[in-house]
């Protein structure tokens, strides 16, 4: 008797389980076929993706700016100098720079002592130069403004060739110098430069090579 009841129970349980499984499998198959038929999934990502190419990223390799400082013209004293520059950064180390500047020669000691004698007219005292130079960032680093703020900086060496118009003549000019570039913002930099402009001058009797040191501070913008 007990065995028959157990058998019946077993039959009922087995039937129920198998039919349940079949139903589950059927519904799973139905889901799969619905997916295949292209019915939308329950959660649809509401994300419109726009592919932006790396080529479209803003490249800022050019730097343009102005500077002001003082230029010592050998024998002609120290005067204010003004200029502008355009640089192109080739690699993280090297850059090329095109610069133009202007200053003015003062009176030589000879002119002051002799009283009336003037070596140059007012117009001839104006000095204009341009140069093309190659620079190298020798010491990239940071300047710390307190414990919370740091500004990227670089010390660079620069040298090149150019032309200086002074004393009613154009002269081939070499320039060498050292500069510091502070970059407080990625688009903006502050420069401090010391540059020696070297050219031959034959104004005072014999030709001699003169060194004209210029120190200036400037701002530049990357674009």
């Amino acid at each position: 008797m007990e065995g028959r009841v157990l058998f019946l129970l077993l039959v009922v349980v087995t039937t129920a389980a198998s039919s349940g499984c079949a139903r589950f499998r059927a519904s799973a198959e139905a889901d799969a076929s619905a997916d295949v038929q292209g019915q939308p999934p329950v959660i649809e990502p509401d994300l419109e993706r726009r592919e932006i190419e790396v080529a479209a990223i803003d490249t800022e390799d050019f730097e343009v700016g102005v500077f002001a400082g003082a230029m010592s013209i050998e024998d002609f004293g120290v005067s204010t100098s003004l200029g502008a520059r355009l640089a192109y950064h080739i690699t993280e180390g090297f850059f090329v720079e095109l610069a133009a500047g202007a200053s003015e020669g003062g009176e030589t000691s000879f002119e002051r002592l002799s009283g009336a004698a003037q070596l140059l007219t007012e117009d001839e005292r104006s000095l204009r130069y341009y140069n093309v130079s190659l620079g190298y960032n020798v010491f990239p680093g940071e300047i710390y403004l307190g414990p919370q703020r740091a500004i990227n900086s670089t010390i660079y060496l620069i040298g090149g060739v150019g032309k200086t118009s002074f004393a009613a003549d154009d002269r081939f000019t070499l320039n060498f110098g050292l500069g510091a570039r502070l970059v407080p913002r990625d688009w903006f930099a502050i420069h401090a430069d010391i540059r020696d402009h070297i050219f031959d001058l034959d104004l005072l009797g014999q030709e001699k090579t003169i060194h004209n040191i210029e120190a200036h501070i400037g701002v530049t913008f990357f674009f």
Binding site: E53, I57, T59, E92, P140, D169, F172, D186
Partner: protein, 245 residues
């Protein structure tokens, strides 16, 4: 009222997020990590590391360095090699455009500056070139010739034939004509300014350096057609850099 405000606020929030997503390139780190430096050069220290699977925004480029922003707001610089190993959100690899020798063949324009010697005087030249084919280009050049006895300015047009544009170092031939204004220095040589026509032929070598940058050196021989009995035949050598785009 409060509810209306919150709706308006959430609208702006959603709009803001949408705009941010549209404007910025986002990539996913695929390597174990990516290193962020404080500045766009190898010498700057690494201050932050972004792990695999995280996203970064790519903001701007300087030379071969990219300014990126991590998910938690840190901003720093990664180099092109590391960015090349990230993935786009779609899973596709990131293609970082870089210039190679092959791009030189496709150049349209080239500008540069050269320095050298023109018949014993210093010469500084700037030039711009347009390429018709990968071999043939036309140049316009301006030179300041600064000598002991005279200064001159010369403008010329040249045709340049590059023999092997696919080689890193390639010879070229050049042929052209121009005009020169010679200004003798008053204190040494008496004489008036004069303007003469010139013609020249030359050979040179172009060497591809890196990115958009090229080194070139050339030798040219000129004929200056003077109004006197003899023409002048100065020769010129110079070297310099140019970049193409």
């Amino acid at each position: 009222m409060l509810r209306r405000l919150s709706i308006v606020f959430s609208f702006f929030l959603v709009a803001g997020v949408a705009i941010a997503q549209e404007d910025v390139l986002q990539v996913v780190i695929a390597e174990p990590f990516i290193e962020m430096r404080t500045g766009p050069a190898e010498n700057y220290p690494i201050f932050f590391v972004v792990d695999r699977g995280e996203r970064i925004d790519v903001l701007q480029r300087r030379t071969t360095w990219f300014k990126v922003r991590a998910e938690r707001g840190q901003e720093g610089w990664v180099n092109a090699e590391q960015l090349q190993q990230t993935l786009q959100l779609s899973g596709a690899p990131v293609e970082v455009p870089s210039f190679t020798l092959a791009d030189y063949a496709d150049r349209n324009w080239e500008v540069g500056a050269l320095y050298g010697d023109f018949g014993g005087a210093n010469v500084i030249s700037v030039f711009g070139a347009f390429s018709f084919t990968e071999n043939l280009s036309a140049e316009v050049s301006y030179s300041d010739i600064l000598g002991r006895f005279s200064n001159s300015q010369m403008a010329s047009v040249n045709l340049v034939h590059l023999l092997f544009p696919e080689w890193r170092v390639s010879p070229y031939f050049t042929l052209g004509a121009g005009i020169i204004r010679i200004d003798p220095k008053g204190t040494i040589v008496a004489g008036d300014d004069r303007v003469d026509n010139t013609a020249h032929v030359g050979i040179g070598v172009r060497t591809y350096l890196t990115r958009r940058f090229v080194f070139r050196a050339e030798y040219k021989t000129y004929v200056v057609f003077t109004s006197r009995d003899d023409n002048e035949e100065p020769s010129e050598w110079k070297a310099g850099f140019s970049f193409f785009f």
